[in-house]
């Protein structure tokens, strides 16, 4: 394949598109699919055929439209005016009227207002193709400029050039740690070794996060392209995507995307007639959160138990099968094509001083607009929760937003004006994490929430090191005692002591960060803990107290 051929595909695809005046885009990502969007898509197709309007209107499946709580979502695009109407909670009964309304006024009852802050206040880089292209067709990705960055990189840039761009862009890892991506690439490039590997971390173990799933389901080629660019930059010719088995749809789409990319020659041998080869293989996780940790992930790809090992040596020097290995998160890779296309200066102009670009967040819990959003780094939590997220459902009161999952913490209403960037969230005792945001209202008991996360870490601990293995069990025991009304003040001191121990002496990140939810809730909601131990009362009425009883 060469550049002309790539352009030819884009041209044909765009011409095909231009034939149609209307396109009915039905979301076929996992959320909407479980609300029956596939039947909906079939029904739209049939209706178009029945009316004989195939030559100016078509229906297709697209990636996530963001507002998952109101699925199935359907976006009707009109090409000439470039206008778009998004319909929510569409049922089979609505198909008729939506097709009726194509040429007239939209069905107001079902339409989401474009002025809704959910749509208006976002800035999309990673999600730019969501809801627009069919994730199962590589041609559609190419039509919107896909694989052009890879071409530019291979034909016009040296590996050092590429890395320089990534360094200048200020991109930091989106998997949680926020390690500068350019620096990591530089280390792997400089590491000695004939064989190097690229690994895409798609384990997404944080319970309550679904950004990576959506990216893989809605725009898989973007990730493949990012990985290939990374491969060229650091000198690797093999890539692995480690994806969790709980995401069957993402796995299917990835497999399809890899096959298509190989057939077109944008993956494989001699890409774009250059000497560069790059293969990507999938590896499935099997339900172990700790395998998101990079050394455990490597061990799992090698076919072993997912036990982390001490670092250094870091995977950048001693990784998969002992070779230098670059591990980045899905979203990190998904940013790469955009940086190459628009330049590092453009990327660095978005976000805050130390956190560049945008971040995808998964909003869930007690919030009106659950779903997927992308905002510039540094957007305040208030803006995210109350404006874009649409606030808390009627009748209940905001209590806290939890970021960073089992490694993170809770943030209360006093701190809602904090900008969401790596440093600010860490300062509050939480972390950015991978982007899961769970909003809680007054129906959640914070001691119970802490217990939930500790139980999670206890069952997910690999068991290799003592503080995490035994400490988590002890913490869980103490929290169970407190939430059943059997606790005393000494138990709280013991929790504090264990938190400090586990944080300071555990082997891997799972153990080190496990106490965060406990420390953070004890800090912000000390009175709730005290109510449990002194008054044997659960203020939120969640815990089943053996003595004392409910509020």
């Amino acid at each position: 394949m060469n550049f002309e051929e790539l352009h030819e595909i884009a041209k044909i695809e765009n011409e095909k598109r231009a034939q149609f005046e209307y396109s009915i885009n039905v979301c076929v990502a996992a959320g909407c699919m479980s609300c029956g969007s596939l039947e909906l898509l079939t029904s739209f197709k049939k209706e178009i055929e029945r009316r004989g309007i195939e030559n100016w209107c078509k229906a297709k499946g697209v990636g996530c439209l963001g507002l998952c709580s109101a699925g199935p979502l359907v976006s009707v695009q009109r090409y000439d005016q470039k206008s778009e109407v998004i319909y929510k909670s569409v049922t089979l009964d609505n198909v008729h009227e939506i097709v009726d309304a194509l040429t007239g006024e939209p069905v107001g009852r079902l339409a989401c207002s474009k002025e809704m802050s959910f749509f208006k206040n976002q800035q999309k880089i990673v999600l730019e193709n969501f809801g627009n292209i069919d994730p199962e067709k590589i041609e559609e990705y190419i039509a919107v400029g896909g694989y052009e960055p890879l071409y530019t990189v291979l034909r016009e840039m040296s590996p050092a050039n590429v890395i320089e761009q990534i360094v200048k862009s200020g991109l930091r890892g989106r998997g949680g740690g926020g390690y500068p991506t350019g620096l990591k690439w530089t280390t792997v490039m400089k590491a000695s070794g004939n064989q190097k590997y690229i690994i895409c971390n798609a384990d997404e173990g944080d319970p309550g996060a679904f950004m990576d799933r959506s990216v893989l389901e809605s725009d898989p080629h973007r990730v493949l392209e990012g990985m290939a660019i990374a491969g060229y930059a650091v000198g690797a010719d093999k890539g692995f995507i480690y994806v969790r088995a709980e995401y069957p749809l993402a796995i299917r789409r990835l497999k399809k995307a890899i096959t298509q990319a190989e057939q077109l020659g944008v993956l494989g041998r001699g890409i774009f007639n250059t000497p560069f080869n790059f293969d990507i293989k999938l590896r499935l996780g099997a339900g172990a959160f700790v395998c998101g940790e990079e050394t455990a992930l490597i061990s799992s790809i090698e076919g072993s138990r997912g036990n982390p090992r001490p670092r250094p040596p870091y995977p950048a020097e001693y990784g998969l099968w002992g070779s230098p290995t670059l591990i980045n998160n899905v979203e990190t890779f998904a940013n790469i094509p955009a940086i190459i296309r628009n330049g590092s200066a453009w990327f660095a102009s978005i976000g805050t001083e130390k956190s560049k670009g945008t971040k995808v967040f998964a909003l869930a819990g007690r919030i009106n607009n659950t779903g997927l959003i992308e905002v510039p780094m540094g957007t305040t939590l208030r803006e995210i929760v109350f404006n874009i997220g649409g606030g808390i459902p009627e009748g209940s009161k905001f209590k806290a937003v939890q970021t960073g999952g089992p490694s993170g913490g809770c943030i209360t209403s006093d701190y809602l004006d904090t900008p969401a960037d790596y440093e600010s969230l860490t300062k509050l005792g939480s972390i950015m994490g991978s982007g899961g945001m769970i909003v809680m209202d007054d129906t959640s008991c914070m001691v119970d929430v802490a217990k939930f996360f500790v139980e999670f870490c206890m069952t997910e601990s690999c068991g290799k090191c003592v503080p995490c293995r035994d400490g988590s069990a002890q913490m869980y025991h103490l929290l169970s005692k407190i939430t059943s009304g059997e606790g005393n003040i000494n138990d709280i001191h013991m929790l504090e002591k264990l938190s400090d121990l586990i944080n300071n002496t555990s082997l891997c990140g799972l153990g080190m960060t496990m106490p965060n939810p406990v420390v953070s809730t004890m800090h912000f909601f000390k009175d709730e803990y005290l109510a449990h131990v002194h008054d044997k009362i659960c203020p939120a009425g969640v815990c089943n107290m053996k003595r004392g009883g409910r509020k």
Binding site: P310, D470, A473
Partner: protein
Amino acid sequence: MKKVSQIQTLIIDGKEVGGKSDESILQVAKENDIFIPTLCYLEGLSDYGGCRMCIVEVKGMPRLVPACTTLIREGMEVTTNSEKIHNYRLSILALLFTERNHICSACVSNGHCELQTLALKLGLTHVEFPYIFPKMPVDATHDRFIADHNRCVLCGRCVRACHEVEGAHTKDIMGRGITSRVITDLKESWGSSKTCTSCGKCVHVCPTGALTEKGKSVAEMEKRRQFLPYLKLMRERR
């Protein structure tokens, strides 16, 4: 990965010492008679880094590091014992004592147990956490050996010895977290194992009374480990 090792100088507990660049802090400390408590480490086996007893402070590093898996660097300043480290070690030991049933007075390894020795040496006087004490099985099906899971600290030494030195890989760890356990083959009885060569290496590397020889009564089980470093050296030369 193997680079030519260079001589490096560093400071451990205020004492200037030297070592090769591929040596760990623990190895250099040992060569200089500086005591660092260990449990999962055993000379002749690969490093594990699981027990966290050997944690030390290194100036300039944000976190405590395990001495057994951290290589020395020129100019390093290591503190092997401070009040903070000492307290962490005590807590870790206490956690181990709560995890399984370690009633020494009834154990064949009483007096020869590394866990017990560490507790005495570090001065563990009381265990503040509640005991968990799950009831674990005892496997006495082997002709010569007994596996008592109630005394196991999951240090993984037996697994490593069986795999790395004997080459049988009869033992491994199943499950994860607090429910993990050492197994023989497909969690079968040791006596019926077709892969076990009955060499007894696992028994002799086990720090506690979890793996012992049959026919010993309380406090009689002494272990021999001197063979390990030699065996490893000889195998490497082959």
